[in-house]
Amino acid sequence: MRRFILNRTLLAVPTILGVVTLVFFLIHMVPGDPVALMLGDYATKQEITQMRHELNLDKPITDQYLLYMDNLFHGSIGMSLYYQKPVLTIVLHRFVYTFVLALFAMILALLIAIPLGVWSAYKQGTWVDKIIAGISILGISLPNFWIAVILILIFSIKLNLLPVAGAQSPFSILLPGLTLAIGMSAITIRMIRANMITALRHESFTANLAKGISMRRTLFVHALKATLIPVITLVGMQFGLLLSGAIITETVFSWPGMGRLLVESVMTRDYPLLSGTVLVIALVYVTVNLITDVLYYVVEPRMRKTL
């Protein structure tokens, strides 16, 4: 057990080093002079020279890379030009919003997906099953910003019920949360349905009913338990994606999370903030996937031999 976790973590190290290196080179992809672009048209020569020195862009590239790595080990990923604060402080502050939104969307998605998935497996082949299948295919194909537009039109414009943007009111989370939950639940419904059908064919299902356990309990407690393991992996991966900043959704609803921060850093040409945010998001994603792997190993002893 401990060996497995250690192994997986060690395997992630070269990937993380690669990610860090790639992000380091991002800022060198700026066409022309990044400093001149950041400072705009009215910058003096002296300001440009000073900024280049501050960002270490006047040193040879190998020195820059070593300095970058050194700073990283000391927990610094640069200073934001726009906010004049360490990038890490800003990103961590925004991470809280992203985390809350991701958690809310995941719970909402499961509340939609579990009953619909179980129901459509139970009614396999009937019109109920077909309608749910149709809805989930639609949910997978719809781009996030299109779902967002429709939700805004219905709930904010037509019904005038919910706020469109920001995070001031506690209701603000509903529309972005629902936007993310729709796509996520669509995939999860399919997964639950497929696994549930196998579980319903198993003899223990009939045995439980014969023992006099109610249908609802048999379906939602006994049969559902058997479907949980593959669903955990899927939900874990989806949660990783959500946690890495639902960039489009956060932008549409002006939700102040990491995804929105990334877009803001593009708009303000704040390159240290941009590359820092990309780095943190990628690291969060790698970590969540690692945790999902380990969780899977913990709940599914049969997998231990093959991994």
Binding site: I16, G18, V19, L26, V30, F145, L153, S244, L262, A282
Partner: protein
């Protein structure tokens, strides 16, 4: 063709609409008529007018053109690069394979659009930069797939005998191995075009496309802030985009069923 159903037909119509956008557009998509700004749908402008009084139908047609152009270009380049790299790594094995696999692992560590946004954000808004940003990420999936397929096929007897006969290894890779995986790659490419088109729309939505090129994603982002005044500005580009993506997914799904038979 019959088994491809109405989806393929509709898709061809949309591709045609993109190609012939300059002929089909009722108005000049760039011409601003400020007296007509936010004009609702009418006979002369069936999809209405936007904030600057530009005809939305004409802009949607040009937007389809942009979507298709970027979607096909990105997939063709990504596919070619992915098959070359994945095929070579899978066939040669050893150090080459390890090195490429590491690079693929690193690129897979960036979720969704993150790296594309990073690259396009750094390089500045233009159509070419969007294509570069999407290709930089797009080839990875094809490379992984090709590598896995090549590794399984290269153990087969007829490949071993070709090797024993002294055939050049690149000749084996391109003439004997790759033709076996053309069909699944076409399926992947069909889904890939849909994904590339949504990605382009997303980047344009975030303001990373060239402001002068009509794009469905950019039209949507311009529409969001005035959605209570003129919902049609958001509805028509959004609906068009959704239909295009649904059609590419449908065609991919049908192709998969035909090939699996």
């Amino acid at each position: 063709m019959k088994r491809m159903g109405a989806g393929m037909l509709l898709l061809l119509v949309l591709i045609g609409a993109g190609i012939f956008a300059p002929v089909l557009s009722p108005h000049n998509p760039y011409r601003q008529v400020l007296s007509l700004s936010f004009h609702e749908p009418s006979v002369s402008s069936p999809m209405g007018r936007d904030a600057l009084g530009r005809d939305i139908l004409s802009r949607v047609l040009y937007g389809i053109r942009t979507s298709m152009l970027i979607g096909f270009t990105v997939v063709i380049i990504s596919l070619a690069a992915g098959v070359m790299i994945g095929g070579t790594a899978g066939y040669i094995g050893g150090f080459t394979d390890t090195a490429f696999s590491r690079i693929i692992d690193i690129l897979m560590a960036f979720p969704g659009l993150l790296l594309s946004i990073g690259i396009a954000g750094i390089m500045g808004p233009s159509t070419l930069n969007i294509i570069i940003a999407l290709c930089a990420v797009g080839w990875v999936g094809y490379a992984r797939y090709t590598r896995a397929m090549v590794m399984s096929i290269k153990q087969r007897d007829y490949i071993l005998s070709a090797k024993a006969a002294g055939k050049n290894r690149f000749a084996i890779l391109f003439a004997d191995i790759l033709p076996n995986i053309v069909e699944p790659l076409i399926v992947e490419a069909s889904f890939g075009i849909g994904i590339a088109i949504v990605s382009e729309a997303s980047l344009a939505f975030l303001g990373l496309s060239s402001p002068s090129t009509p794009s469905l994603g950019r039209m949507l982002s311009e529409a969001i802030s005035v959605i209570n005044v003129s919902p049609w500005m958001a509805l028509f580009p959004g609906l068009t985009l959704t239909i295009i993506v649904l059609l590419f997914n449908d065609v991919g799904e049908r192709l998969r069923k035909i090939y699996e038979r």
